[in-house]
């Protein structure tokens, strides 16, 4: 690994200033589990690393029935998995966080770092997209709030400007009849990175789907909503047949990656099955 300047801001504004001063070759460093790996492999050779570990208060997780869930950027995956309010009110989000990567990585890796890295082959972005999450970015000119959907631009590319920092993730308050599920598909149990991830949330209103949100990730360049499948389910009665058709519609909407981990055809077939299963799990329907 090449040497680099190690900068230790003690506030977000300090960190923004350092990023602005250091320019394009500087990288923000949170837990380090992804960036350090890229640096060791010389995929990333930053001249300066701006370390957020000494910035207080960025790891807070707060829940309020009217305001919803706020997760600080430096909250670790293990903290999210263990948080009582998340486990109670967004159980599939806690379950997802409990499965990211592997246990030691979950103790180091942060949610903000995960989202900003832009690697498609991971779980949090897809699950949070299905929950209509937004992200708060702070830069030299103040704060802005983006829908997570608009935060992702392309493969490993986000909407973050050079000196901007993602400081918080916000999830809207859960509807009383909120249902949801997140399923990650691994080719073998020994793998830590999903081939495909699907998040489904909805309101389950006396047998009918309302406010359906279907997010697909890991097999596409950036996590995406399956809007046609969502429209198909909206207001529809939940049955094994409608969920199976929903899976087929969603799979047809994606333009999958094709690489050593799986061909586009393969990923599309898996998507059909996993969307169906995630929807079935969300609505409590017993089907394969």
């Amino acid at each position: 690994m090449r040497d680099f300047a190690f900068l230790e801001p003690t506030s977000v504004d300090d960190a923004c200033r350092m990023l602005a001063t250091e320019g394009d070759e500087a990288r923000l460093y949170a837990g380090g589990t992804a960036l350090l790996l890229a640096m060791r492999q010389r995929l990333s050779i930053p001249s300066a690393v701006v370390y957020l570990g000494n910035v207080p208060g960025l790891d807070l997780i707060e829940f309020d029935e009217t305001r919803g869930l706020r997760i600080g950027a430096l909250a670790r995956h293990a903290d999210i998995a263990a948080h009582p309010a998340i486990r109670a009110r967004y159980p599939f989000l806690a379950k997802m966080a409990e499965q990211v990567a592997n246990p030691q990585i979950r103790n180091m890796g942060t949610l903000g770092g995960n989202l900003c890295y832009g690697d498609p082959s991971t779980d949090p972005p897809t699950c949070l997209l299905s929950l209509n999450a937004t992200v708060t970015l702070r830069g030299p000119d103040g704060e802005r709030v983006l829908k997570l959907e608009d935060f992702y631009v392309d493969y490993f590319v986000t909407a973050l400007e050079q000196a901007e920092i993602l400081i918080q993730v916000h999830v809207p308050p859960p509807a009383p009849d909120l249902v949801g599920a997140y399923i990650r598909f691994l080719k073998t149990p020994a793998e830590h990175r999903p081939l495909l991830g699907v998040g489904v949330t909805a309101r389950y209103d006396q047998g009918f789907c309302r406010d359906v949100s279907i997010a697909i990730g890991a097999s596409v360049r950036i996590p995406m909503r399956a809007r046609t499948a969502e429209k198909f389910l909206e207001g529809n009665r939940v049955t094994a047949e409608t969920l199976a058709e929903c899976g087929a519609i969603a799979a047809a909407e994606i333009n999958p990656l094709s690489d050593f981990a799986g061909s586009a055809d393969y990923r599309q077939q898996i998507a059909q099955v996993i969307v169906r299963r995630a929807a079935a799990r969300a609505f409590g329907i017993d089907m394969d």
């Binding site: 690994m1 090449r2 040497d3 680099f4 300047a5 190690f6 380090g32 589990t33 350090l36 790996l37 060791r40 690393v49 370390y51 570990g53 293990a78 990567a101 592997n102 246990p103 030691q104 990585i105 103790n107 180091m108 020994a190 830590h192």
Partner: protein, 159 residues
């Protein structure tokens, strides 16, 4: 090369050292402190041979900078036995139950298990298997490892 001063407690001992920013925690432990029980395996955050405890949490020291351990408490496999050399029940159990063959992954497994048992003193077998998903063994097939941890948990919570 700019050096950074770090204070860190490793296995109960205070250290103050100057290290370059790029020094990995694994290299710091092995090369600077001579604690070679912590292994460098895959060096990509997968195999878990480099697992140590930092402030009571299991982490992989190959994808963590030494500077990130500043002002923290690090525990390595060398810190598990008594000062007079008496092995920790987990170590003893791995010997008695055949929880290892070549032994390279063993410090990582034992440190992961040590932190896990501190949180879950009486685990089910499936809990142990879930806790070990960040550690790879290429010799044993895991049965001996899981049995060793179960036996150690019984001994530790029973005595």
């Amino acid at each position: 090369m700019e050096k950074h001063s770090i204070d860190v407690i490793v296995n109960g001992d205070d250290y103050t050292l100057e290290v370059p920013a790029r020094r990995l925690l694994a290299d710091f432990l092995r090369d600077d402190l001579g604690l070679t029980g912590t292994k460098r395996g895959c060096e990509t955050g997968i195999c878990g041979a480099c697992t140590v405890s930092v402030d009571g949490k299991a982490v992989k020291s190959c994808i963590m900078l030494a500077i990130q351990a500043r002002d923290k408490q690090v525990l390595t496999i060398e810190g598990l036995s008594d000062r007079d050399g008496k092995l920790h029940p987990l170590q003893q159990s791995f010997i008695e139950r055949g929880g290892l063959q070549c032994g390279f992954c063993t410090p990582g497994f034992i440190m992961t298990a040590y932190v896990f048992l501190a949180q879950v003193p009486s685990p089910r077998e499936e809990d142990i298997r879930a806790a070990l998903t960040g550690n790879l063994c290429r010799c044993t097939g895991y049965v001996g490892i899981v049995e060793s941890i179960l036996a150690a948990a019984e001994k530790m919570s029973g005595s």
